[in-house]
Symmetry: C2
Subunit: 552 residues, 2 copies
């Protein structure tokens, strides 16, 4: 990303974990002025031995090395207090945006994304982007989800009845944001849901999402038919007070759609969706979330919790992709988007799931049309069902494509999907696969600045700057370890050939020789080659004939 002339930066404390994960990286705040308020916008600066000297990358890591019992600092506290003291009653970013106000959060994400604050305001006002930022979550370093910004990645964590503890979940939060998760969903369904969430929110600089119906179900002892809107609203309030930034709400699973799933190969695979479907059938009544949607909106805007309208009827196998029930629900989500927007409540739309490549684009086209361009947030999609154990890959294929087509955020899938609960390594594998998908999408969309990272790494590769290659990698430690497995000696890191081919067969080395021979003549390689005189070629043999040149 381009640097400003008068840039001022502040160093951020770094932990041993950071230094190990990202050698030669420096974590910084770039200081931006927003009408007299200083905004401290995070970035990770990778220092290079060669051109362009350094490169600044988007940094999701947040404050690190802080005792989880203390919780993080609260950069938003003063901004929010001012709004509360004014007596605002709708705290939604969309509400401010529509009144022409550029909030601190908007200015912050503009600086973070490298665009104008006014552009951010306009996108939020139009509903094409959301800034999930509950006013009870002052620890956030604001971020934006919308298709005209960098594609984002969500990581799911959360304990379950079967396994895992609170400490593990906080550690997974830190770990996933270290590797680049832009938001984290706490999908806990086990015991201590409330306390787990409190720890997670207080230790998170990224927005936190939840699926409140899970806690409701725990409250009624698992008896789906005992759920009702009052319990639901009470639970929303409880979670909103804690600072949850977006809620997945399955208000589109209407009674009439449930029968449509009967002919499916894999029925209903969304947990929230199946709960609501069962409730609808048990009472033979319309989904209470749909019926009382405006009451939910009233609550959401008091906190600025964003909707993530759940796709309860998403396909659970490629066989079921793009079927009638899926798109019927999507149409309802479009209708609910209009209701939410009437209240200025920020809204994104969840999408599938399991979709073969040829059916992916239709999902985006329909979603944009039916939901008036509200941001799309998809799980994968998996493009085949034959590879349990590798669904981070089957789904990264779909995620990259759907991101390119316009999806704003990608919900990660780990190698353990369909099989078990992800551990630390699985979380990392999932986040990395999805950072690849999101970045590939940014590059394909021509998102400003995206390809600069690729170019810096490619240049380092071509110039045999091994250390720069490792340090620029999405995962430097793994890149270095793989190199060292073949060529462990330190000298190999300055070698002018790769371990894959050996010195005789290094194409980059040969190309370098070709260029060097031309440069020696004081002319550009291109000119030299185009003139291509016989005498030049003779001299080239004499001076550059030795392919392998000892490293100086």
């Amino acid at each position: 990303m381009a640097e400003l002339a008068a840039e001022r930066t502040i160093a951020r404390p770094s932990t041993p974990e950071d230094a190990e994960a990202f050698p030669k990286s420096e974590r910084l705040f770039r200081v931006h002025d927003h009408g007299g308020t200083e905004l401290h916008v995070p970035l990770r600066r990778v220092h290079l031995a060669g051109e362009p000297g350094h490169i600044d990358l988007y940094d999701t890591g947040g404050p690190r090395g802080i005792d989880p019992r203390e919780g993080l600092p609260k950069p938003r506290a003063a901004w929010i207090r001012a709004r509360e003291e004014r007596g605002d009653s709708n705290f939604s970013q969309m509400h401010y945006a529509r009144r022409g106000v550029v909030t601190e959060e908007m200015a912050f994400v503009a600086a973070r994304e490298g665009c104008e604050p006014e552009f951010v305001r306009a996108e939020v006002a139009a509903g094409r982007a959301i800034i999930p930022a509950n006013r009870k979550h002052p620890e956030i370093e604001p971020m934006i989800i919308g298709r005209n910004f960098a594609v984002k990645v969500n990581a799911n964590i959360g304990n379950s009845a079967v396994t895992s503890s609170i400490e593990e979940e906080v550690e997974k939060l830190r770990w996933s944001t270290l590797w680049g998760a832009d938001t984290v969903m706490d999908l806990s369904t086990g015991k201590d849901i409330h306390e787990t969430r409190e720890w997670i929110v207080r230790n998170s600089a990224v927005p936190i999402g939840t699926v409140p119906i899970y806690q409701c179900l725990e409250k009624v002892g698992g008896k789906i038919e005992d759920l009702d809107i009052d319990l639901f609203l009470e639970t929303l309030e409880e979670q909103a007070e804690q600072g949850v930034d977006y809620f997945t709400i399955h208000a589109g699973v209407r009674l009439a759609y449930v029968p449509k799933t009967a002919q499916r190969l894999t029925g209903i695979v969304s947990r929230g969706g199946s709960i609501m479907a069962k409730w609808c059938l048990a009472h033979h009544r319309e989904n209470f979330l749909y019926e009382h949607f405006e009451r939910i909106c009233e609550l959401m805007k008091r906190y600025d919790v964003s909707f993530s309208l759940g796709d309860g009827l998403r396909p659970g196998s490629i066989f079921d992709a793009n079927d009638e029930s899926q798109f019927a629900e999507l149409e309802t989500l479009g209708e609910l988007t209009q209701v939410a927007w009437k209240h200025d409540v920020q809204t994104m739309i969840e999408g599938p799931g399991h979709v073969p490549m040829n059916l992916i684009k239709e999902n985006v086209t329909k979603q944009m049309e039916l939901c008036s361009e509200a941001p799309f947030y998809t799980l994968g999609p998996l493009t085949t069902d034959i590879a349990p154990g590798y669904d981070h890959i089957t789904s990264a294929i779909g995620a990259a494509q759907i991101g390119w087509y316009g999806t704003a955020m990608l919900c990660y899938v780990t190698p353990k999907e369909h099989l078990g609960l992800p551990n630390r390594d699985d979380v990392k594998a999932g986040v990395i696969a999805y950072k690849i998908a999101a970045h590939a999408a940014d590059v394909a969309k021509g998102h400003p600045g995206a390809q600069a990272w690729d170019n810096a790494l490619s240049r380092a590769r071509f110039e045999f700057r091994w250390e720069d290659q490792f340090n620029l990698a999405l995962d430097p430690v793994t890149a270095r370890a793989y190199h060292d497995e073949t060529l462990p000696a330190d000298g190999a890191k300055t070698a002018h050939f790769c371990s894959m081919c050996g010195p005789h067969f290094c194409s980059m080395k040969i190309t370098e020789d070709v260029r060097a021979a031309a440069a020696k003549e004081g002319i550009s390689a291109e000119d030299a080659l185009e003139r291509g005189l016989a005498e030049k070629s003779k001299e080239f043999v004499e001076t550059g004939g030795e392919i392998y040149r000892p490293v100086p």
Copy 2:
């Protein structure tokens, strides 16, 4: 795939390695009659506890458990002998196809792919597909590469000057075909090139490809300028005699194109391409492979070695994708395809490399047009350059897409790409990622029968048939191991919930309950739901209210 009524199968010996890799799989030959000749077509039958009882999968594994010093049996020997005794001089499958002959190889691949022999003949005659099968490689179980057949995967092996041994390379061959590699390229550049190749060919039931210029370069002690056409033809003959099935030949790197690479970020990254570019510059003469291309064709047809026309000027970074030099070379490859076809020499075209998603389709469109629909064979492409250590993923994203667009074979990329030499685990990771990409492409193309595998696995998942899920997986051992990490008890393999959600939150379990409640009434689930009477719903609560039902 559909079974024939009068099917006859023969059991194949299985090794402990097979049994461990694919539990409940049986390796079989299905016997087909081809005008009185018995063809033994391999398949792997996965036996299931539930519907559809079993599923037959394409099997690349070949004869296993045979001492490598003995070599494999020679199913093609008699077919080839008959042709030789007739005094044929052009042994190319294309030659036979164009004369209206359905060879044993064509009948074999028709049975293997589930189509008519005549269709195979027509595709080969048109140049839209190739059957790489040197008459000196009688060990082959024939396969076909063309966009109207299943997308294929190639795995690269080969020692280098830096590391690895012959035994290791044979083991990599066996290992990569066990996991599904359809062809294997021996890219050895180290010592004992000839002997390594002999071992590989004699132990391979899949076609073997090579890049003969590597051995030529070893023969001249690494001095590129000493290469010439006589040495090249002599080397081709040597390798053709051994039984190599396809040769990568960089005849499209013309002198005039080399200057076009000077403005690239990463120059020339193909090893063969850079060798030929340097030769052109050193002599300031046209590429001798281009100039003497007809002499090469004469040799190819005597053996039926297929061309894999090398893309020596492929991009080595996404920055360089789809540039002038790349497409200039592609145009020449189209011209050479016509020359090859004049001699009835089977031909496929190699493609990139590193290409952002938005530029992938243009590669296929141009290739089909310029090369008259000769099969396309691409390396990846990688869709971003920021993730060394994960290039099996960055490239599987591109490979799946380019396969869907019409690429016939995908050359795998391992996690070690750009960093080091792949070991056993890397080879497996690369093959699995590419089987995913190829299968996702088959499904997206609507290739007949492709989705049956997905459906079988999805059905097993929905019905909580854990063992069937594992056994149907592309990698059963990994799937089972991931499951057991969370829920190791044997009982968990018959559990009616997944370890991810626990019993209360299992959407599939809930859906199953919904269906069961309806079925109890003796009506279909759909009818039950659509009638949706209040009394039914009341009863549903009474009978099916308990979400978790103990496993019988």
